[in-house]
């Protein structure tokens, strides 16, 4: 996306003969329809997401097809990623007894989110799919359904709902605590799960866009002082790309970890 915007901004002033100053990147530039109209528009992030899923399926199947005891490099990579999600995230959060059932979901979440986030800094794509709010919402809805249904199945509706309230508090406090707890479990948790991922990806990509577009504007349309400053802008873009890579991994990890935490909360007996 950064490349596309660079190209457009290069062409436009030349066509109009005179640039009217720097246009900072806006959220509208994230909307990139390909075909269709209205609510049924097929947009670029949808295409990127589809491609990422096909790529993931293809790579994972191909690298684990002839699984050997002594793994090949590709198989080793997949095993490391899978072990990370299975042991560090799933087993240590949910516990040895029930975690296996949820590992496919958690691994899928982690790998899809990580790949789509990384697309934000990989040059041909440069579009983090999770910066469009619909994608984190869809993933959060899946996690929401899973942890509530898991809790209800394990404990039955009554015990599940009463188990959300901590025991042993002085009686008058309960009037305040009960709406808070239910709002947290049913509204705030999924809200923050989706918004955390969306906000990080959106803001990070806006920053990158700003530095790259700003640097390009300063380089091409500015005086000599601005041209020198553009080096700083491009350097910041480079630094922030590296920072974004870290944030993208972290956000994928946090989403999956919180999904596992909510599942483990729903299944746990103590509170």
């Amino acid at each position: 996306m950064s490349l596309h915007l660079l190209g457009t901004s290069l062409v436009a002033p030349m066509a109009s003969g005179e640039g009217e100053g720097f246009h900072a990147p806006t959220p509208e530039e994230f909307y990139w329809p390909i075909f269709g109209s209205g609510h049924w528009t097929f947009t670029r992030p949808m295409a990127v997401y589809l491609i990422s899923i096909i790529l993931l399926c293809f790579v994972l199947v191909a690298l684990t097809k002839r699984a050997a005891i002594v793994p090949s490099k590709g198989q080793w990579l997949v095993e490391q990623a899978y072990d990370f999600v299975r042991n560090t995230i799933a087993r240590d959060t949910i516990g040895s007894k029930d975690f296996l059932r949820f590992v496919p979901l958690l691994f899928s979440l982690f790998s899809v989110i990580l790949l789509n986030n990384l697309f934000g800094i990989i040059p041909p794509v440069q579009y983090p799919t999770m910066s469009r709010i619909g994608f984190p919402i869809a993933l959060t809805l899946i996690v929401y359904a899973v942890y509530h249904i898991a809790g209800v199945r394990r404990k039955g509706v009554g015990h599940y709902l009463t188990g959300m309230i901590p025991k042993g508090l002085p009686k008058p406090i309960y009037a305040l605590i009960i709406p808070l707890e239910y709002a947290t479990y049913f509204i705030i948790r999924p809200l923050t799960l989706a918004l955390r991922l969306f906000g990080n990806m959106f803001a990070g990509h806006m920053l990158l866009l700003l530095f790259i577009m700003g640097g390009e504007y300063m380089l091409l349309h500015g005086g000599i002082g601005l041209k020198i400053t553009s080096i700083g802008s491009f350097a910041m873009a480079l630094i922030f790309t590296a920072f974004e890579a870290l944030i993208q991994f972290l956000q994928a990890y946090i989403f999956t970890l919180l999904a596992a935490t909510y599942i483990s909360d729903a299944l746990s007996d103590e509170h």
Binding site: S96, L180, S264
Partner: protein, 81 residues
């Protein structure tokens, strides 16, 4: 842990996995959702009350009460004792 009271035969994989009890305290990112929930859950009715009654001062105590309750809840759930 495996023992005579568990299922009779744990597969080798289950034996390798045994001994991880799972988290007892959720990570701190979850506490953040409590801290956010407090002001929202108590501030929103306070704001609505303000709109209905035409006043403008109910929101502030509502948000403060919500923040206090949520911090208390975080302390109850995640505090050390």
């Amino acid at each position: 842990m495996s023992g005579p009271t568990d299922e009779p035969d744990l597969t080798p994989l289950q034996q390798k996995d045994a001994g991880h009890p799972g988290r007892t305290t959720p990570p701190m990112w979850d506490a953040m959702s409590y801290v956010l929930a407090g002001p929202i859950v108590f501030g929103l009715p306070a704001y609505v009350g303000d709109r209905l009654l035409g006043t403008n001062w109910i929101v502030l105590p509502g948000v403060l009460v919500g923040m206090a309750v949520s911090l208390y809840l975080v302390w109850v759930r995640y505090g050390s004792d």
